[in-house]
């Protein structure tokens, strides 16, 4: 069973509880600018879209990190703050924009699924963000749209899980 965040924008009301919960879990402060999840407000369409890392297989961030500060923990790409030097190269390599530089810490930040208990999903009052077994949800569809930008053909067939 592979667990992931499954996001249904149709249920999002832009209350931004997820941003506050994420920021609080990771930094101890309620500061949406330090949240790993962002709610986009497409007001002309009346549509809100919570957006964060889909833990993609390509792992652009992990492979580009010059000092091995991002590892694959059972599919989750985790930044190790004690190793990150703050060079920011992952923030331009990730074509989804879901790794960001945090000036307050001098490190990069990204979604780590809170180690298996994501604060955003727990805080979401409308089940727009749920943490669930991806085999029974529309996660693949979600990941596909994120990976729409990946023009590099997925090479060599399916890869076995990362060695880490």
């Amino acid at each position: 069973m592979e667990m992931a965040l499954v996001i249904d924008p149709g249920k999002c009301t832009a209350c931004r509880q997820c941003e506050l919960a994420c920021s609080y879990r990771h930094t101890g402060e309620f500061n949406p600018s330090r949240s790993r999840i962002v709610v986009f407000d497409f007001h002309t369409k009346g549509r809100f879209v919570p957006y964060t890392c889909t833990q993609c297989d390509q792992a652009w961030c992990q492979q580009v990190c010059p000092v091995g500060a991002i590892t694959n923990e059972n599919g989750v790409k985790v930044v190790h703050e004690d190793i990150c030097v703050g060079c920011k190269v992952c923030t331009i390599a990730c074509p989804f924009g879901t790794v960001n530089y945090d000036p307050a810490s001098g490190k990069v930040i990204k979604c780590d699924l809170c180690g298996g208990d994501p604060a955003c999903a727990a805080a979401c009052p409308t089940e727009a963000i749920v943490y669930t077994d991806i085999s029974v949800q529309g996660f693949e569809k979600m990941r596909k749209w994120a990976e729409r930008v990946d023009t590099a053909p997925q090479a060599g067939g399916d890869l076995p899980p990362a060695a880490h």
Binding site: P9, V38, F40, F42, V49, Y51, W60, Q63, V64, P66, V67, G68, I83, V85, G86, C87, K88, V89, T91, I92, A93, C94, P95, F96, G97, T98, V99, N100, Y101, G106, W145, A146, R148, V149, D150, T151, A152, P153, A155, G156, G157, L159, P160, A162, A163
Partner: protein, 412 residues
């Protein structure tokens, strides 16, 4: 199957990891030319400013990573390749046979033809050995001259300032990072750097360096002479491909590779700063010499060496620089291709965003002081996604570029 990889930088190490993951049984040898633990040059600025120790520059720690993954590290420098016999000779005479070879020999700094660029106090900032020498000579109060305000110059600038030196930057072009930033952003960066405490001389060349014993005397094209305890030369790099002379391999500035990272020689691949492959932005051959392309090429090469069928099509020029706190980026055709342009310039807030369009797609960008979700710019350029209504919005509000990406990717 014996995979031989020449070069233990990020490209070499990432390819070795991928080979091991794809082929648990193969033999992997990684040749390191510097006698160091495999490390990343990109981490050197953080070593100089004391944020990390030398181990912090390593690609993997502890070093048992390599033995655990059965990656044999061999010290040496490649001297010659016999592609017919499938052998590489090292400078110490050792011959290594291979079944498949990956060349990741990287690049080295160029020493410009200026008289007097020699001696202990004239250094590049390229290797760990260089970093040790710079740390020795760049003491608080030292006079330091940085020759070249390109990528490397700008990225080590902060660490030099933080070391408390009196820093003068000398750049021959009319602005800082001319290959990455336009006049507006390059000038903004110069003003920022001056406020951070360095003197910046653009449109100025170093003409001669004289060692007077106590100090170096750095003579400039302006007629001025600067005293220096240390001169750091950061004026560009060139690929390390001379050992392939005589093999008949197709090359220009780098070894030419196709989308599979194959060279023109059988069973020889190349990746990273020594390779010259297709540039996503132009469709022409180019050596980009940047970390993302180096590792992405290396992983593609490894997949093919392991018998897969991988192609790499997104070698996009892109850079991110943090110069004493002002973060600048550039992506793709940042100087434009003659299409429409969106510009946001707020000098008071040190913010600049310039987007370049080709009809209905984004083809390039440069930014200063704009970092939030900046990777989306790569996403938009690389996907060649039609912008539709978003182009009009971005022409007025280029800062909404991430929003455009999220909306468009979702609907695609």
């Amino acid at each position: 199957m014996h995979h031989l990889i020449i070069g233990a930088g990020p490209a070499g190490v990432r390819s070795a990891e991928m080979l091991r993951r794809l082929d648990p049984a193969c033999e992997i040898t990684l040749i390191d030319g510097e006698g160091e633990a495999p490390y990343s040059r990109m981490a050197i600025p953080y070593l100089l400013e004391g944020k990390i120790d030398e181990k912090g520059t390593w690609i993997h720690r502890p070093l048992e990573f390599y033995s655990e993954h059965r990656i044999a590290l061999v010290r040496g420098r490649a001297e010659a390749l016999d592609a017919a016999a499938k052998k590489v000779r090292l400078q110490d005479g050792t011959e290594l046979a291979y079944d498949r070879l990956l060349v990741c020999t990287g690049a080295r700094p160029i020493k410009p033809p200026v008289p007097g660029l020699e001696g202990e106090r004239v250094r590049h900032c390229w290797t760990l050995e260089d970093a040790r020498a710079i740390m020795e000579h760049a003491q608080p109060g030292s006079d330091v001259v940085l020759m070249g305000a390109g990528f490397i110059g700008c990225i080590i600038l902060e660490s030099l300032i933080r070391r408390g030196v009196k820093l003068t930057v000398v750049e021959v072009e009319d602005r800082m990072v001319p290959r990455m930033l336009d006049e507006v952003a390059g000038t903004m960066l110069k003003q920022w750097t001056e406020r951070a405490g360095a003197r910046v001389l653009t449109s100025t060349a170093v003409e001669e360096v004289e060692d007077t014993g106590s100090k170096l005397r750095v003579k400039l094209s302006s007629g001025e002479t600067l005293p220096a305890d240390l001169l750091v030369v950061a004026t560009g790099v060139t690929s390390n491909i001379e050992f392939m002379d005589g093999t008949g391999v197709e090359k220009r500035a780098g070894i030419i590779v196709n989308a599979r990272m194959e060279t023109s020689l059988p069973d020889v691949w190349a990746a990273g700063d020594c390779a010259e492959g297709c540039d996503f932005s132009t469709g022409d051959l180019n050596t980009l010499a940047i970390q993302p392309v180096a590792v992405e090429q290396a992983i593609t090469a490894a997949k093919n060496m392991a018998g897969g069928n991988a192609e790499y099509h997104c070698a996009l020029p892109m850079n991110i620089l943090d110069t004493a706190g002002l973060i600048t980026t550039s992506f793709g055709r940042h100087e434009g291709v003659g299409g429409e342009r969106a510009v946001l310039h707020n000098a008071d807030e040190w913010r600049y965003i310039r987007l370049e369009f080709d009809e209905d797609t984004l083809v390039g960008a440069q930014t200063a002081g704009h970092v939030n979700m900046v990777g989306c710019i790569r996403g938009l350029i690389q996907s060649r996604i039609p912008l539709r209504g978003w182009k009009e919005r971005l022409l007025k509000h280029p800062e909404r570029v991430a929003e455009a990406y999220v909306d468009l990717a979702r609907e695609a």
